[in-house]
Symmetry: C2
């Protein structure tokens, strides 16, 4: 051992300072508080100061674990997990009800809070390529995959005619693309009606459902 050779005792293991063991419950509180802030305010007003104040942690504690605000936010996105529908595809008896189940998912506190968080993240992704990559990998791509699987299943069950299968890849992009565009280009609040219109007037219409 190095210490037996008269070298100084280690003060770090794997780059972490020795001391109190790393507190995972404290991490969880900090990350969920960060998500709360993303739901409440514009990205420039989501600050390490505010996270420290709300959690009662020292700013040095935060900075020891996450070097920048973007790092903290990336960790918060990852801690929020994927949309749960990727593991449990909704199965409510029709493609329309399944698509509405995704829109009305309780994930991230339900539609209103989730839309607020996504709007903040889309704006934050503008200033950080790394954050944009995490949003794409953790949120956008899982949603595209959920829609693709719902369309494929509706074709397999016969709800959608198999001859429309060629439309599935581009249709799986429609809700993520139109939501992102609305959230980044419009200053108006984005209401549930918007998603319902995209589902009825674009997606189901393109899959041959009768006019609503």
């Amino acid at each position: 051992m190095n210490t037996s050779a008269g070298l100084p005792a280690p003060t770090k293991i794997d780059g972490l300072p020795l001391g109190r063991p790393h507190d995972r419950s404290s991490d969880a509180l900090i990350l969920s508080t960060t998500v709360d802030l993303l739901a409440e305010r514009a990205y420039e007003r989501v600050t390490m100061d505010e996270v420290a104040a709300r959690t009662g942690k020292a700013k040095t504690t935060l900075y020891r674990r996450w070097a920048t605000k973007d790092d903290l936010v990336i960790a918060a996105i990852r801690s929020a997990g994927h949309p749960p529908e990727i593991d449990h595809l909704p199965d409510r008896g029709s493609l329309r009800l399944d698509l509405l189940a995704v829109v009305d998912s309780p994930w991230l506190g339900g539609a209103t809070r989730r839309i607020s968080i996504l709007r903040t993240l889309i704006s934050a992704a503008r200033s950080s390529e790394e954050l944009a990559d995490v949003v794409r990998a953790e949120i956008t791509e899982p949603y595209i995959e959920i829609y693709r699987r719902l369309f494929d299943r509706a074709i397999d069950s016969g709800e959608i005619p198999r001859e429309l299968a060629a439309r599935v890849p581009v249709l799986a992009d429609v809700l993520p693309a139109m939501s992102a565009h609305r959230l980044s280009f419009s200053r108006e609040p984005v209401e549930r009606d918007f998603f319902v219109s995209v589902i009825d007037d674009v997606i189901l219409a393109a899959l041959g459902h009768s006019p609503r």
Copy 2:
């Protein structure tokens, strides 16, 4: 007059230094060169230095007229005008041919160059709210208006059944939203096939055209 009252002769009029009269043809060259650069390279590599070098102008000349790169780029976007289809709606005999005419427009040098410019502008709009506003007002909103008018005209001519009119507002957003999403989220080149698929598999499909 102030000068007759013994005050110093003016050295500026309306904040512009006196000197050679303002050279409009020089402006046009600088702005079209800026558009060339937007077509060729990522936004961070579009520089005042490069515009000065290519046009043979002094950097001070550029900075006297446009205080920042963003200002120069905003002027370049405005100088490029609106998509010409807003003044002359294509009329090729079917909605599909009219939509393809917009995709294949010669505006900004044709589809390939225009897509490159738009990709650079979408990325630039991330770092400047003012630039984002100009892109929205000069490019995105005119395109939404062009598509809306093409759909309305197809309803008036009977090509699209009038009972589908409720779908027009959201369908007019589809091409701009899906193009912007593809250009900002995907690193792949965006080919004409992508636009054709959005037209056939989403828009015309949602308007009741038979499967391609």
